[in-house]
Symmetry: C2
Subunit: 335 residues, 2 copies
């Protein structure tokens, strides 16, 4: 009996804020694997803000999604049929084939994950590309040093909460923002950052003044917008901005910071990065993250929605300021 | 008979665009030098855009000018009375005591300049802090490499024309902008840049598309504003912006670039710098610049106004888009 797989496709390209009508569902038959291939049944799908960019028909660092085609992205699952000795049935693998229940792929496109270390879903979160993104931003871009003060916007999100935790592990003072009281409580009470605020409650400039009266050394930017402007004001001489994303402007472009000229007087450095340029750093990252996760110094916080049907709404929620996920947003596929 | 010196003082702080009423003149008596000091009569004064920032009462990388006090800045002159063997009468020196005819200073605050290599005024221009600023931006900040394409805004100004020339010497493709047809002709016909345009004539985005169809690798930013936005669009992956100044916003702040998020997708680096952090590089710079000036590969282009009374108007002109100086703006003091 052939394997069937439901998948989520891009039905149309959104103008501005996407809606459910931009997605469609289809059921396809998945063929048997050939030599060097395996058949994988996904258990968890990754839901990521950067997918919004791929919904546009614009040249960027990853090709755009194609209308009528399934949405690519991170996923973890198990091998259910194998034509490769190294990937026996039952093996847990990580892939980038995205929002579908099952697929066939050559084994060189898959990474085996070790579920004795952490649950499979953690490889989409703190141990996955999400955690690596935070690590690269802090270590390879911002050169964060022990004792420095860092501000993380979108601090309760997938990448943001990883950045907050890794910075605390580094012995840094962490100021973090989020868009709801629940998220702010998570930052304060669970992640134990030094100062957390709701960026829609009061002025980010004032909050940074309170949280870091002597200024900040590093800004980990997940949002752009007014928080970027506030960070430019708060940065000390020779400060660095690791620019990771700009969720404030993903649906509708936001104006640039009016105080960008401070980059000159304060000798600031603003640097953007794409995590896929740094996959070679994954072993160094995991060597730090796995022991920390085991000892409880790092936690893998996730927001889980269940069932493929819930994926589009979870994604829309992720882009909606103030609502949505605490920690990494994932879709758990029903067994 | 005591030496007298006329000087230009800050009469009041400007709001927005400065006017002549913000300056006043005074005549003071200059005392005789003590041991280790010399009395200097200035021959040339430097007129620089960054002085606008010092007219505000704002904490920055240099202290603000004080109301009622003379305006500090670069100058070159000759020793006319000396209490130091190393600085005999007749020695040409460079100083930062600014817009005054004569002054007394300890010799450790002065640099001797070699007028056998170039005329004294060149030490305010291509061989001075102005030339060093361009060199630092290209070499220490942007890491400009042979064969790359660079865009220099404000390309006909003091720092800008030095940046264009040094980049051409590096074997780079140079696109430059300026605010008048005369300046554009200078860029084309004298500096022989690869593409020059008047930024007020047509869209900078279109000009960059014409001048650099494959994009640019480096942007040397003297202006900020719409040209910065255009440069962000034109930059290729891993492009760099050396942020040197933002004359477009010195009098009235300009909005930030709406496309700053491109920093992420294109992995751009934006870095600001202050030349005084790099004075240690002056010997390396001069080792390159002096032979080039002698051989005619570099030229020292200047716009000269005569007499201390002309200094404030020259400064106002410098800040006025499209008018003003080609090359370095200096004041020649009457003999």
């Amino acid at each position: 009996m052939p394997t069937v797989s439901r998948e989520v496709r891009l039905a149309s390209r959104p103008q501005g804020e996407p809606s459910l009508s931009n997605f469609s569902f289809a059921t396809v038959e998945v063929r048997e694997p050939h030599a060097g291939e395996v058949l994988v049944r996904n258990e968890f799908l990754s839901v990521d803000p950067y997918m919004r960019g791929r919904m546009n028909d614009a040249k960027s660092y990853v090709p755009p999604f194609q209308v009528g085609q399934p949405l690519e992205g991170g996923a973890v699952g198990r091998v259910i049929a194998s034509q490769d000795e190294g990937f026996p049935v039952g093996t847990y693998v990580q892939s980038i084939y995205g929002w579908r229940e099952a697929f066939v792929a050559p084994v060189e496109r898959l990474q085996i994950i070790d579920t004795s270390v952490a649950p499979a879903s953690a490889y989409l979160g703190i141990l996955g590309v999400t955690g690596l993104t935070a690590w690269v931003g802090l270590n390879r871009i911002a050169n964060l040093k022990t004792g420095e003060a860092i501000f993380v916007s979108g601090g309760a999100g997938g990448v943001g909460n990883a950045a907050c935790q890794l910075a605390k592990m580094h012995g840094c003072k962490v100021i973090a923002s989020a868009g709801s009281e629940e998220k702010v409580r998570f930052l304060r009470e669970v992640l134990k950052v030094d100062y957390a605020f709701n960026y829609r409650d009061g002025s980010p400039v004032e909050h940074l003044r309170k949280g870091a009266p002597d200024g900040i050394d590093v800004y980990f930017d997940n949002t752009g917008g007014p928080q970027l402007e506030a960070a430019l004001s708060a940065l000390r001489n020779n400060g660095r901005i690791a620019m990771c994303g700009g969720i404030a402007g993903y649906n509708t472009p936001v104006p640039g910071p009016r105080n960008l000229i401070l980059v000159v007087a304060k000798r600031l450095r603003i640097e953007g990065f794409i995590v896929s340029d740094y996959f070679k750093d994954a072993p160094a990252f995991l060597a730090e993250a796995i022991p920390a996760l085991k000892s409880g110094k790092l936690i893998n916080r996730e927001t889980v929605v269940v069932g493929l049907d819930a994926a589009p709404a979870a994604f829309l929620d992720l882009l909606r300021s103030g609502a949505g996920n605490i920690g990494k947003m994932i879709v758990k596929l029903a067994d």
